[in-house]
């Protein structure tokens, strides 16, 4: 895809579809999503709530909550298909090859066991180490994620750690077996701003040192801007734009990305009014035909109402927008329709 060399991708997601059967019909929550992550790369996946970003992450680690299910497409890790593996095999890959970090560190830690026991168990599940060796490794991991007094803290229970420290323990847990990919779902959202910066710096350092790739799922553009190499912007279950982070942040090509960036208050200039995108993301039950963004778009034409755009080259990024197609957005819409 973009920017990367000819090394084969570590993770390859092709035309992924995730659906939820409900009594009112099947909802398509992730619709034809494709992207790649190169070894050692940080891919940010950003979007507003309900955009399908967390579901994409969960589909990759094989933890879609029922009744959600993968309805199409494929996911390949190091060339091997993992989306159709039986649960037991996927469990081995999760942990050994893919680590997971969630928003709330408390959900990832068992409150009844000391963090040391949880780390040692995870290490021994995935690596042939003796109990003593595994404990040494656990202490090393805790030191690595910046927990002071690791030798003593290893026997503490999750509730004895503060929020930031707990998230460090979760990161250590995700790193246990030396995974090639970490899927981090809103890892900093539950934390205070000063702690957020610490966790982001930690994630970045670990990736650099271990060559671990990260899929960073978040709604926080700031976190993405500082951490990611490339970013995928999701809207209503689809990728609206994907490209190098600097290009997407500074020179967005999709009207949604542009609006999103403009709506973040900036410290540079203090404007009277923030750029705003009117309306809200459609519910899954009422996704419009054509481009899902068309009801909120100020550049839309006839074509946007009927034909759904796929990702296409747009400057240094790829955007799913007819503005960047040779055929354009089609005939202009009557004035009333634009302001409706």
């Amino acid at each position: 895809m973009a920017a990367q060399t000819n090394t084969p991708p570590l993770l390859e997601v092709r035309n992924l579809r995730v659906e939820f059967p409900t009594r009112r019909g099947t909802l398509l929550a992730v619709d034809d999503v494709s992207f790649e992550i190169a070894p050692g790369e940080v891919l940010g996946v950003v979007g507003e709530s309900g955009a399908g970003k967390s579901l994409t992450g969960n589909a990759i680690i094989g933890l879609l909550e029922p009744p959600g299910r993968i309805a199409g497409g494929e996911i390949r890790l190091e060339g091997r298909r993992i989306d159709n593996l039986p649960y037991e095999e996927m469990r081995k890959i999760r942990g050994a090859r893919i680590g997971a970090i969630f928003q709330d560190p408390l959900t990832s830690l068992n409150p009844l066991y000391s963090v040391g026991r949880q780390l040692v168990e995870t290490i021994q599940t995935h690596m042939p180490l003796s109990a003593g060796k595994a404990r040494d490794r656990a202490i090393d991991l805790l030191k690595e994620v910046g927990i002071p007094g690791a030798e003593m803290r290893i026997d503490h229970y999750p509730h004895q750690f503060s929020g930031g420290m707990r998230q460090r323990v979760v990161i250590a847990l995700a790193l246990c077996a030396g995974p090639r990919l970490i899927v981090a779902d809103e890892p900093t959202t539950a934390l205070d701003v000063s702690i957020q910066a610490q966790i982001i710096a930690l994630l970045k350092r670990l990736c650099r040192e271990h060559g671990t790739a990260v899929m960073l799922v978040t709604h926080d553009m700031g976190v993405i801007a500082e951490t990611a190499d490339r970013v995928a912007v999701m809207y209503a279950g689809r990728v609206a734009e994907i490209g190098p982070v600097r290009e997407v942040v500074k020179h967005a090509k999709h009207p949604y990305t542009k609006g999103l960036m403009g709506s973040i208050p900036s410290l540079g200039v203090r404007s009277e009014k923030l750029t705003q995108i009117d309306g809200a993301m459609p519910r899954l039950t009422e996704i419009p035909t054509g481009c899902a963004f068309n009801p909120r778009c100020t550049f839309k034409g006839q074509r946007c109402l009927v034909e759904r755009p796929n990702l296409m080259p747009a400057g240094a990024t790829q955007a799913a927008c007819w503005l960047h197609d040779a055929g354009g957005v089609g005939a202009p819409l009557p004035k009333e329709a634009v302001h409706a």
């Binding site: 009594r23 009117d278 309306g279 809200a280 409706a340």
Partner: protein, 312 residues
């Protein structure tokens, strides 16, 4: 977004479109239970119209009709008394219909009494907290250490010792409703208290406090409507329990008098002559009681699951 036309579907559509209706429809056992309950209730309350006899009017009784067996199970059965008669010549089918009505009335009424006491104390306890809360909850704890039937027996016993037997028979229904009501309030109070403690910290209650509404208004207008779900579940399950409790008390002879028999009284009356082989007098009311309570409990179980998605 702002120009979305307001849709206001009719209430019937709102019900048939709701998740709860869907959950109801997709559980066939629940539909059967609901139809069964409805059938029993309708028949019971229409008993003055539907019943072939008026079994408790002494003028219509004839001892020569006494102890007739059910018509289909015995060659000497009489079609005038499809389920047979008791020793007084009362038609069992009619007795069951009238008795079910009385059981239902007592059950409903005692649930209403328990609910009223429980909700009121639960609201006060949960909203104000502190010493009032501690007092009410300790009383509830103490009460819970006695089985409900014992509490009801105790209350009935006290009333009996205070007033004459004649007088007691006249107000027996009220005594038993009060006794059962008083023995079941704890569960409502605890549930409501728990819900109130959750709801009162929600921001919509704080918004009402910022306006300066009185605690009473806030409780009635804001908190109460939001704690009705769990209360409804308990009420449904308790309806079955209340009916059983009334039957038990009546069976033990401290409930409703035989001049005005409920299902429990009928079972007791039949039990007295069971040794002589006249089984139908006690078996048919027993089956009716079991069917009624089972149907009501099935409804309650479904309601609990439907209103609490976490349990599924």
């Amino acid at each position: 977004m702002t120009d979305r036309p307001a849709t206001s579907p009719g209430w019937l559509h709102r019900i048939t479109d709701s998740d709860i209706w869907w959950s109801f429809k997709s559980s066939s056992l629940t539909v059967v239970a609901a139809v069964g309950t409805l059938l029993i209730v309708v028949i019971a309350f229409l008993s003055p119209v539907l019943a072939p006899h008026t079994p408790f009017d002494p003028a219509t009784l004839s001892l020569s009709d006494g102890l007739k067996p059910p018509v289909l199970l015995s060659p000497d059965g009489d079609w005038a008394f499809p389920l047979g008669t008791d020793d007084q010549g009362r038609d069992i089918l009619s007795s069951i219909m009238y008795g079910t009505r009385l059981s239902l009335v007592v059950g409903f009424a005692s649930v209403v009494v328990a609910m009223t006491i429980g909700i009121a104390l639960g609201l006060i306890s949960g909203y104000f907290g502190g010493a009032i809360d501690a007092l009410i909850m300790r009383i509830a704890d103490v009460q819970l250490t006695f089985p409900a039937i014992l509490v009801a027996l105790l209350i009935d016993g006290i009333v009996r010792s205070v007033i004459s037997v004649q007088r007691h028979d006249e107000i027996a229904v009220f005594v038993i409703v009060g006794a059962i009501g008083l023995s079941f309030w704890v569960q409502y109070a605890r549930t409501v208290r728990g819900s109130v403690m959750v709801e009162k910290n929600k921001e919509y209650v704080q918004a009402a406090r910022v306006i300066g509404l009185s605690p009473l208004l806030i409780m009635v207008r804001h908190v109460l409507p939001n704690v009705t779900g769990p209360v409804l579940v308990i009420a449904t399950i308790n309806l079955g329990l209340a009916i059983i409790t009334e039957a038990t008390l009546s069976f033990l002879g401290v409930g409703l008098p035989s001049t005005e028999p409920s299902l429990g009284t009928l079972i007791r009356l039949g039990n007295d002559v069971l040794q002589s082989g006249d089984w139908w007098i006690t078996v048919f009311p027993g089956i009716t009681l079991a069917a009624l309570v089972l149907a009501v409990n099935l409804l309650g179980d479904w309601l609990r699951d439907a209103l609490n998605p976490k349990l599924r």
